[in-house]
Symmetry: C2
Subunit: 414 residues, 2 copies
């Protein structure tokens, strides 16, 4: 289950779908770093989207949701980092409109065809005049360099680029799907925490696109946690050419095509989600919690996320301390239903080089502290939880809680 179905490419090897161009540039928020990205769709694209469930929503979230709901086709996305433009009142709402309008003017489309996204400090007004000025000279392109500049421009506390592509064959044609994401702190998604932008040249109807994205996000971006905090600005946007252009001769062919697309989208989103967990603020270890044998999918997911989200579990992994009692305590308060006497807990490394069982059917197992230390000193550790109640399973990803998380977030603004 942990293998990808499709071959993925990242970094300099990334592949881009036809029909899209990109730019990353200095828009005037950060002093010496790229802070603004644009993604331009040559044709009008269909758009699927998921947004934060935080009740406090940034202006970009509110505006995009309205545009996507009313079925506007999309010509572009403009994104800034360093300023969330959230909780900035009417002035902030107006600035968000101006941000979209500036991109629309440059691209040559209606303002309603531009989606906006912002990430950074909450409650501070955008330097919108500078940003408008900067957008006048956007030069988009379809090269890997253009794309990577856009990826760089959306980063805040991220320490590494998060982008990935894959090719898939369907109905005798080859398609490309490519995604970028940013996220490192304030990560405990609930309908897509963090920013993610995905583009493909596979033509898919808007309803199919949306249902595919929703299913995939629930298994990927919604199954990671860095700190239990959910942001006001989170969204995942997915663009593709509209309609299926009478491509299919029968329903079966259409279903096969959608299935290939769905598998590729899943791999893209899972890769990006895991990279966000790995790059959690201050993290030294990537943690994965795998739950099997749960009585329902909901219980499996709640248990996996409950364990991954516990501050005490995260500290124990940072300290390489096999304090598995904190895992079962976190299961207990997660809100999931399970039988304590059916619980088995193991630790193992991702490469399966080492494994150790700590609890077997509700009873502690005597284990070697030395062997535990060898597992816990690696950078990729799986917490395996076996239940004997049903056939549902789920995986959540997270990271350890370290001094550096506290340091990074003690003086984020300054």
């Amino acid at each position: 289950m942990q293998e990808f179905h499709n071959e993925l490419r990242t970094g300099a090897d990334i592949q881009l779908p036809s029909g899209f161009s990109f730019a990353g540039y200095r828009g005037g928020i950060k002093k010496d770093k790229l802070d603004t990205a644009v993604i331009v769709s040559q044709e009008s694209s269909n758009c699927a989207a998921v947004f934060t469930r935080n009740k406090v929503r940034a202006h970009c979230v509110v505006r995009n949701e309205k545009l996507v709901d009313r079925g506007e086709t999309v010509k572009g996305i403009i994104v800034n980092s360093g300023n969330a433009n959230a909780c900035t009142g009417e002035e902030g709402e107006g600035n968000n409109e101006r941000f979209a309008a500036a991109a629309a003017q440059r691209i040559g489309c209606k303002s309603e065809q531009i989606l906006t996204a912002s990430t950074g400090v909450i409650g501070v007004q955008l330097p919108i005049a500078e940003m408008e000025h900067a957008s006048g000279s956007i030069e988009t392109g379809s090269s890997g360099e253009h794309f990577l500049a856009a990826v760089d421009a959306i980063m805040t506390t991220d320490t590494r680029r998060k982008c990935v592509s894959c090719r898939f064959i369907a109905g005798g044609s080859s398609f490309t799907i490519t995604g970028m994401a940013k996220g490192s702190g304030m990560i405990h998604p609930n309908m897509g925490t963090m920013l993610g932008f995905i583009v493909t040249d596979a033509p898919i109807s808007a309803p199919s696109l949306q249902s595919s994205l929703k299913l995939v996000v629930d298994e990927t971006f919604n199954m990671i946690s860095v700190d239990g905090d959910t942001s006001t600005n989170d969204m995942v946007l997915l663009l593709c050419p509209p309609g299926d252009r009478g491509r299919f001769s029968c329903e079966q062919e259409r279903m096969d095509f959608l299935s290939s697309f769905h598998s590729a989208l899943y791999d893209i989103c899972r890769y990006l989600a895991v990279e966000i967990a790995r790059d959690g603020e201050g993290a030294t270890k990537l943690l994965r919690c795998r739950v099997e044998g749960a009585s329902s999918l909901q219980n499996a997911r709640t248990l996996a996320k409950g364990v991954i989200g516990s501050s005490l579990v995260k500290c124990a992994f940072f300290g390489e301390d096999a304090n598995w009692g904190r895992i079962i305590a976190a299961m207990g308060y997660s809100g999931a239903d399970f039988n304590q006497k059916a619980v088995s807990i193991s630790f193992r490394n991702f490469d399966e080089s080492r494994a150790i069982t700590l609890m077997k059917r509700g009873t502690p197992v005597v284990f070697s502290e030395e062997e535990a230390k060898k597992i816990l000193s690696q950078q990729e550790i799986e917490i395996f939880i076996g239940l004997e109640e049903g056939s549902a399973s789920a995986t959540a990803w997270g990271c350890d809680l370290t001094y550096d998380y506290v340091k990074i977030n003690g003086d984020y603004r300054t």
Copy 2:
């Protein structure tokens, strides 16, 4: 609202109710510290109790709940620290029975009249033979020293004693109520996280005692958070002489008596709850979140606890960074219902020496970073959230998130 109604006494000035004796001794878990406490009731006491809502429950929680539910009167409580005796299977269940039986034998009562409590590492068997041996020589007494030894014996990562007493007059008589608590990490109570033991010489019927405790716990112990983790072993037990012994000539007199008792119990529990928050693992600052003007009590409490529980808010206070955007983001994902445009946010010190407004009716306020720094550099800081939706209010207490929290919990077992 932040003043206590009754005069409280702590430390060497503590007052004890008649009818109870105490001991703290080495039971064989810790190498060089007190680790076991007993509280003995000379008469058979009524008992009220609240227990953790964690679905994984220690043997002591399961056993006590059964005894309290079936209305057993109580002759004593025996408590150990350093070992939670949770998730230890049938052997652990038997050891918990033996723990109670040893105390019963020493005190001279039925095993069913002894309640047990444990706190410490999960999943490790008790050294029960040593503990039984040690209980043979318990010497209880009614002095302040005996009481304080018991307080010391229940501490784990606590850095200071948590105990308090007050006297109240009702119906022409004077009564004393005295409580002790332990708790520093794994604190996010849900029906009484941490251990708390409260005794009084005021005679109260079991139903009145239970309803008073439940109401008070919801406003005090259930309104603190250190790390969002809820333990498997938490409980608050409250003992008093049974019945009201025909003390009252009319219903009004009885109601006045209960009201005085309730007010004293509230002060005792609030004091202990705040001390637990202040002593949060690694904490340098005590935080209080006060919400006023909410549309319902539930919303007020959820908002206050949501803000106090946010890792990012806690880091910002550690770093003395006035990053109030994290506060409104935490409000947004708390699950409470509120109107974003009605939110005002201020910081002020407990002593009201300084105050600063950061958001006014949903719009950011330009504030002095210098003044903010002065407030945030103090050890006691209130986050005040004003809404304009109703008359409900609530207060939650917590602490900052520091390097030392990570350090303490990185190697808790070793």
